[in-house]
Symmetry: C2
Subunit: 228 residues, 2 copies
């Protein structure tokens, strides 16, 4: 089993605040796991009893709305940690996580993390900072959802994806979301998202080749998302 002390991924998240001794203990109690594309990492209502550290791959984190449609709230990628919130307030997860492509994750059981939170102020402070930042981002999303048109939200989402994920060799975004996924991020019907995507393509803001998306005109997209 690979050792946390030597894991590069750790450097990107709060686990970097752990001491060497703590990391060795984590190595001893963690489990690794492969999650195939489309598989459920955890579901709404499930007790996770620990946190996941994503070594590779991407998953979509969503919540079912009363009307029966999934709203995607987060995209989690390599280096991110997920599950810490349910762990902290000791509740079942309010969210569902599904792998967007094949993932490799490590699972660290609750007790170990709670112990570290108690004893390592620097670790808990880092978690605090991460959560404060997530809250700030959530504020932005709420405002966008409440005030922006679907077109603006699509433009903003494309920019966000462009910033968050790497490019393939040909310049397309290295994340394979279905049209439905995209619609579920911006909170609209799949057909609406499709229509707007092809409108953007017609205006040369983006290019579409099957599932691949190329961002051509960041500036225009930014103006669109801000409502010009």
């Amino acid at each position: 089993m690979s050792k946390c002390e030597q894991c590069i991924v750790r450097e990107f998240n709060s686990l970097k605040a752990l001491t060497k001794e703590e990391l060795i203990r984590v190595t001893g109690c963690k489990t690794s796991k492969i999650v195939k594309k489309g598989e459920v990492l955890f579901d709404e209502g499930e007790y996770i009893n620990g946190i996941f550290c994503v070594k590779d791959g991407v998953c979509k984190v969503s919540k079912m709305s009363d009307n029966g449609r999934d709203q995607i709230i987060h995209l989690i990628k390599k280096g991110d940690i997920i599950g810490e919130r349910s762990l902290i307030n000791n509740e079942a997860s309010n969210l569902k996580a599904i792998a967007v492509n094949d993932m490799e994750v490590c699972f660290i059981p609750k007790e170990e993390i709670l112990r570290d939170l108690e004893n390592n102020a620097s670790f808990s402070m880092d978690i605090l900072k991460k959560m404060a930042n997530s809250l700030k981002e959530a504020d932005d999303v709420i405002v966008d959802m409440a005030q922006k048109t679907v077109k603006q939200r699509l433009a903003a989402t494309l920019l966000l994806l462009d910033a968050k994920f790497d490019k393939n060799e040909n310049g397309s975004m290295n994340i394979s979301l279905s049209r439905e996924d995209i619609a579920n991020i911006i909170g609209t019907a799949t057909e609406s998202a499709i229509r707007l995507l092809s409108e953007f393509k017609k205006k040369k803001l983006i290019d579409l080749k099957g599932k691949e998306i190329f961002i051509n005109d960041i500036k225009a997209l930014r103006e669109l998302s801000e409502g010009f």
Copy 2:
């Protein structure tokens, strides 16, 4: 100056986790303040440099969207703490807070809180829990904003206000929001909110007497908010 050790309000928020000695120090460095209805407690972009503990009154916390409308994201009331997020990630506030009625608040400077966060694991754990819970609530708001109609959101907001605030003697909700405020909570135009309110009144779900709002039929409102 009143003493934090004897302040009842503290029992409702994370400050209850502080030790007696810490509370005495807080008493020594805190300042009290009266904020009149309509006055700004803090503005977007401002460095707060501490936290506010609300002894009395209510304030609306909002964020300006690109299109120039304020979106109200939180309503903060007696017993709540506000400002901890900007303090934790050491940034200017991304939100604006305006008093909805006359308020009485205590201000505790940053250094004191940071010191307590470092030294009192139970305090920082309590803050963590509060933030984890806020994130969960934010998820719900995002889903509602993205997926629900304006009518559903108004119903949900009325229920939320009903649950969060006390009643007056005559049974109306003890919070005086303008129609514009209500519209800015649910993220719609003022006229739309007004129209829906009078529709609800016609259907006997609520009653309106000037600014006062009476909730008549919780069950019907709940069904409405869930989309029946």
